[in-house]
Structure formats: structure tokens, C-alpha cells
Subunit: 159 residues, 2 copies
């Protein structure tokens, strides 16, 4: 990550894109959300979703995967350029998670994050809190999920 002091509210990052296959939708559902419309095409066709779709927990967990992959790639590039890398701290949680459209088998979801707030931590010197609005958008440009996350982020040591 960049240091807290070098980030501006409004900055938006496309984290990556993922296509959800039927096989991985069913594998996640068997482990964490075994409802018929996440497990079986015929049952899903009869359900209010009209077809096999991913657990909402699966579609949001994939945001986390692409977020981590993106941060790790960006940090490796910073190190390769000889630049310092800011440490990300704990996330106290998230809020306002909305599942707005189903994610069906074959859908490609583009995940992004936009900085919506930055503040210096009063309790932890050298750290601040950064708040993102995170989204997933499908191949028809429809928003399928959004949520707000906050995480601790290191401040620039020399400032």
C-alpha cells in the first residue's frame, strides 16, 4: 500500500475481474452455504433466481481475494522500484453490505475500491484509518454488490 498521507479521497482502483464457474459456485456452497440454488442447476432454475448463482458470501470473498492479489502485486512493484511499502493493519469490520443482483454461473465481476474517508488515528500514533467503498460490477455494467470497509494503514514515517 501507499502510506496514508499519500492517498487522496476519491482515488479509485480497479482490483481485477473474476468469472464465476458453476464448479466453483457449487464448491463454495457445499462448504459454506448449502442452499439448493447455489448447488444444483435444476433446483436453481425453479427458484426465484432462475438459474445457478453464487452465494453472496462467495461473491464478497472473491472481492477480498482480488484485493489482496492487487495489493501484493502493487507492493512487489514498489519494492522493485526501491520504494517503501506501507503496512496495512487490522480491519475492525465492514458495513452496509448490499447484494444488489445475483451472480450467475458464467458472470464476470469486476471489483473496485474507492477511497471515501481518511483520518489519522488518535489512539495509535503512526497509523490512520482509511475507508473504502468496494463494489462488484457484472459484464452488463450492473452493480451486483457494494460495501464499506475501514482498515488501519501506516502513516509516512518521515513527514
Amino acid at each position: 500500500m501507499e502510506f496514508l498521507d499519500d492517498i487522496k479521497v476519491g482515488a479509485r482502483t480497479v482490483l481485477g475481474r473474476h468469472t464465476f464457474t458453476a464448479a466453483e459456485i457449487k464448491a463454495f456452497a457445499r462448504a459454506y452455504d448449502p442452499q439448493p440454488f447455489h448447488l444444483d442447476e435444476a433446483a436453481a432454475a425453479r427458484s426465484l433466481f432462475g438459474g445457478l448463482c453464487a452465494s453472496g458470501w462467495h461473491s464478497v470473498a472473491m472481492w477480498m481475494r482480488l484485493n489482496i492479489d492487487h495489493q501484493q502485486r502493487a507492493d512487489a512493484a514498489r519494492r522493485a522500484r526501491g520504494e517503501p511499502v506501507a503496512e496495512l493493519g487490522l480491519s475492525p469490520g465492514f458495513r452496509e453490505l448490499k447484494w444488489l443482483k445475483p451472480v450467475h454461473a458464467g458472470d464476470s465481476i469486476t471489483y473496485a475500491s474507492e477511497v471515501v474517508a481518511i483520518r489519522v488515528s488518535n489512539s495509535r500514533p503512526g497509523w490512520g484509518l482509511i475507508t473504502f467503498r468496494n463494489t462488484g460490477t457484472n459484464q452488463s455494467d450492473e452493480l451486483v454488490l457494494s460495501f464499506i470497509s475501514t482498515t488501519f494503514l501506516q502513516r509516512r514515517p518521515e513527514r
Copy 2:
């Protein structure tokens, strides 16, 4: 599920308990949250968590698994007694998810749900919205996570 009309605010259900093994913590992390403190004991020992711990997305996905298992067991018992079963509808989302303590390898988490609000839907006749406060508590009786969920639930047909 019971029908919306038969549920009272304050009703609390223990959904079940799950012990997180190191192997499953790493398997979830490889797929959805590949950070060192979820993947590797030595790296985790050096991290601010002090030891291998589950992704927050893993600990909350397991709430969903135990919730579904509980509902399916309870519905099967209702059918065996010849009782009707209410249909659960879509969940528009979640709010106020808090990860309060790490879930370390070997921790046993008891998941529970408490009804905090019930209202009849104006837009969908025959349905209502039920809101739960969901929690996970470890073997030392410490709250490790909580969040608020809302979902559509069928009303009793004859009322």
C-alpha cells in the same frame, strides 16, 4: 423456518459450534484471503495476531454454514411432524459486521442469532422482513464477531 407471524423479537437460537483447524484456515485463505497470517504458522507468529488465525471472511462464512444447517434440520423436523414450513426469501444484505477478536487455529466458535426486529413488507404481500443480530463466541466466552442481517420471510397463509 417458522412463519413471520409466529416469531417474537428477542428469540435467540444457538445455531451450532465449529472448531477451526489449521488445515481449513489455510485452505480458505489460499482461495480467498492469501495473507501470511492466515497461511503460515511462522509468519503468523511474527504478525500482530501472534499465531495462525482464520480470515474474517472465513469465520463469517462459517456462520452462514451453521445457519443453513440449523434451518434445514429444523425444517425437516417440522415436516416430520406434519407442520408447514415458511419459505425464506432473499437477503438484501448485512450491516455492522464487526470482527472483535481473532479466531485462532483450534478455537471453537459458537454461533447464535437473536431476532431484533420484525416488520410486514409493504411492497410484497404475504411476506415480511426479519432482522437478526448474529454472533460468534469463542471457548473463553469472548465475542469474536457480530453482524446484523435482514431477510425476507413468508407470513402465515391463514391469519
